[in-house]
């Protein structure tokens, strides 16, 4: 987990590096951070609803899936993409291959795996199953990976 905001960045789907700030930092200075094209990293413990009113100013939203058993990120993805129609990229960071199918179908649009999975073919896992039983927030599946 990265604590220092200066250190956090992520590569977006256009291969550009984007600075990420915490939800707290974002709310403190929305306009100045928005003007430099900053993104926001959301941890499972964060209240994602706080971002609702400034979504159109956020360049990218990163959801942290590091904690394997903490499923709040899936609800965050659903709320952001389906309910609040966030138009930007939602990247799942610190992702686990065994959970890609859940992330991508909840509304996450791209992902960055944890280093542990370097040698495993993630395509095999991200495709999930040939059928699913529910209309998910985002059924388009994985298009980009980094």
């Amino acid at each position: 987990m990265v604590e220092d905001i200066e250190m956090i960045s992520v590569v977006n789907s256009k291969n550009e590096s984007v600075q990420l700030v915490t939800v707290e930092k974002w709310l403190e200075s929305i306009d100045s951070l928005s003007s430099i094209g900053a993104g926001v990293i959301v941890k499972p413990t964060d209240d994602v609803e706080l971002l609702k009113d400034s979504l159109d100013k956020i360049a990218i939203i990163a959801l942290d899936f590091n904690n394997f058993d903490d499923g709040r990120g899936y609800s965050h993805a659903n709320l952001l993409s389906k309910r609040w129609k966030y138009q930007g990229e939602i990247i799942g960071v610190n992702a686990h291959i065994d959970q890609l199918q859940f992330m991508l179908r909840s509304g996450v649009t791209s992902y960055k795996l944890l280093d542990d999975y370097e040698n495993i073919d993630d395509i095999d896992y991200s495709n999930g199953f040939s059928i699913c039983y529910q209309a998910a927030a985002n059924n388009s599946g994985l298009k980009e990976k980094f």
Partner: protein
């Protein structure tokens, strides 16, 4: 790998098509099961190769029903809504022989467990089960568990609706749900459509009761946050009427509030009952309604009523009403005793519902040998349209037995020692494995059950007492549901001596009531005397056919207390 999957599907599909008169998984469902096994096999291989750590593998394997202990691994297989056919039961018998030690264990929640599974064989085992439409998906772990229904769904008079088609639609929806598969804690749902509540829905994380509103429309009342365990709670009503077609969006809102706000920081407070308690039921309901507002009218979340109609057809009873003329029950003393306690009226004329208990003196309730499974499968084929059901009391039900064949069935059950007249009396005790078999248990369960059965060995008295539930849990995990029994025992240890806390007059059928504590806990040596005293106070105060709970309501705790503590 891909080719292999396709081959499997083809084979499974053709064998599967042979089942008649029963809700069947279609090719998509079967394909899903096959892919799920393939996925789990890959994860298992990574774990065995050291590429997947214990914690993550635990999370994944539990969602496939696999518990791993130091010396033995347990697999929990779902029997959806307690319904199975002879072919499925034979497949379970084959699994017991091939992968276990010739045993299975029926649980109180419509599952069967195998206790001696080799990890290397798990994928093959699951493939065999998938070929008869059985699986272990979400039977454990912090996920939405298998949904339970009244074991007599569709069979009894006065039912609002058969709960099983709704259960199946809800199961499908929450099967590997993208948003709700990594919850704070386990999540158990029960659905009841009958007049009496055999499912104990208000002691579930979420209970649904089918009902009709003033306009005659079908819907559900919803109860959230019930549970037993160390803190017994009756679920609070969060909605008095949710129309049938809106149930998925409502359930999603409950799950979302739980997923986002449920405690994840304290291992003892993970279940939804703690969230409901901390927020208060009114505030919890408000949050659910607030969320529901956004999704209630989402067409994607409306229940597909065409699917529902199809499922109602699929779950329709396999028999038609029958006029049986000139038939009289044979006169046989043992038969009539057994019949009184184990045969119930079927809503269709000409049929009866027959209960078969596997409980034997000194054995673990719910245990069944592969031989017994095959006998039951054969008898069901002969007498009950190849159908069987499992119940909360860990017994087996033959749902459709012709009235003029009940005697023949009884004779066959007698032949295989499966027709003890004790069934349906207080001698049919629900007990957890207790500290003889379970590491968590503080005290013995089965030896106490045996001693109670020995104490009440006078058949006339047992029959006079009638159906009185005694449930014995060996620890606060409350696996035997002692809180909702007429007489409940909770095992504990004080200075290395086993004691039991006694509760009385718990129930769920007409209303949900948590049993009242009788007083200070009683030592293992004296607890059987205490039970006998409680039963005697009941008998002395009973008016005609009055049940235990009715007598208790009338006379209160005091007479019981005075007799036991003197």
């Amino acid at each position: 790998m891909k080719n292999k999957i396709i081959e499997n599907v083809t084979i499974i599909y053709h064998t599967y098509k042979n089942i008649k008169n029963m809700y069947e998984y279609n090719t998509d469902d079967t394909q899903f099961l096959v892919e799920r096994v393939d996925q789990f096999e890959k994860q298992l291989k990574r774990y065995l190769d050291g590429d997947l750590d214990d914690a993550k593998f635990k999370s994944l394997r539990l969602r496939n029903g696999l518990y791993m202990e130091l010396h033995a691994h347990m697999l929990r297989v779902a029997i959806p809504y307690g319904v199975m056919n002879s072919r499925q039961l034979r497949a379970l018998a084959d699994v017991a022989d091939k992968y276990d030690r010739g045993f299975g264990h029926f649980t109180t929640r419509q599952n069967i467990q195998f206790n001696w599974i080799e990890v290397a064989e798990i994928a093959n085992l699951l493939r065999e089960l998938s070929s008869v439409g059985l699986h272990a998906i979400q039977t454990s772990g912090k996920a939405i568990r298998n949904i339970t229904a009244d074991p007599l769904s569709g069979l009894t008079e006065g039912e609002i609706a058969d709960a099983r088609p709704y259960c199946e639609l809800i199961r499908r929806w929450f099967n590997l749900h993208p948003e709700f598969s990594w919850l704070p804690g386990k999540f158990k749902i029960a659905v009841n459509g009958a007049k009496l509540d055999e499912t104990a829905l208000r002691i579930h994380d979420l209970g649904l009761r089918l009902l009709r509103n003033d306009k005659g429309e079908l819907g559900f009342s919803v109860y959230v946050g019930g549970g037993l365990g160390a803190v017994a709670v009756i679920g609070a009503e969060t909605a008095s009427f949710v129309p049938v077609e809106d149930i998925l969006s409502y359930l999603e809102s409950v799950m979302r509030v739980y997923n986002l706000k449920g405690r994840r920081d304290n291992i003892k407070r993970l279940r939804i009952k703690f969230l409901v308690k901390e927020l208060g039921a009114a505030e919890f309901s408000r949050l659910v309604d607030e969320d529901w507002k956004h999704t209630k009218y989402d067409p994607e979340l409306k229940l597909n009523l065409n699917h529902l109609v199809q499922l109602e057809k699929d779950f329709a009873l396999p028999v038609k009403p029958l006029e049986i003329s000139g038939f009289e029950e044979p006169v046989d003393f043992n038969y009539s005793i057994w019949r009184k306690n184990n045969v119930r009226a079927h809503k269709l004329s000409g049929y009866s519902i027959v209960n078969v208990s596997l409980t034997k003196l000194g054995s673990s309730p719910g245990d069944v040998t592969s031989k017994q499974m095959r006998i039951l499968a054969d008898l069901a084929g002969q007498y009950s349209s190849s159908y069987l059901r499992t119940t909360k009391r860990q017994s087996i039900v033959f749902p459709h037995v012709r009235k003029d064949q009940v005697f023949d069935l009884w004779q066959s059950l007698e032949e295989f020692s499966l027709a003890s007249p004790h069934q349906g009396t207080l001698a049919q005790i629900v007990a957890c494995p207790g500290n003889d078999y379970c590491e968590l248990a503080k005290a013995a369960s089965i030896p106490i059950a045996t001693r109670v059965q020995q104490r009440f060995d006078d058949m006339d008295k047992v029959l006079d007492i009638g159906d009185l539930n005694i449930n014995i849990s060996g620890c606060e995990n409350s696996c035997a549901h002692h809180h909702i029994a007429d007489i409940g025992l909770l095992g504990m240890k004080k200075n290395n001596v086993e004691f039991y806390q006694v509760t009385v007059a718990g129930e769920t059928l007409d209303e949900t009531v948590i049993g009242k504590k009788l007083g200070r806990s009683i030592s293992g040596d004296e607890v059987v005397d205490a039970i006998e005293n409680i039963v005697n106070v009941y008998l002395e105060n009973r008016d005609e056919e009055e049940r235990f709970k009715e007598v208790f309501k009338r006379i209160g705790l005091k007479p019981f207390k005075e007799r036991v503590y003197g």
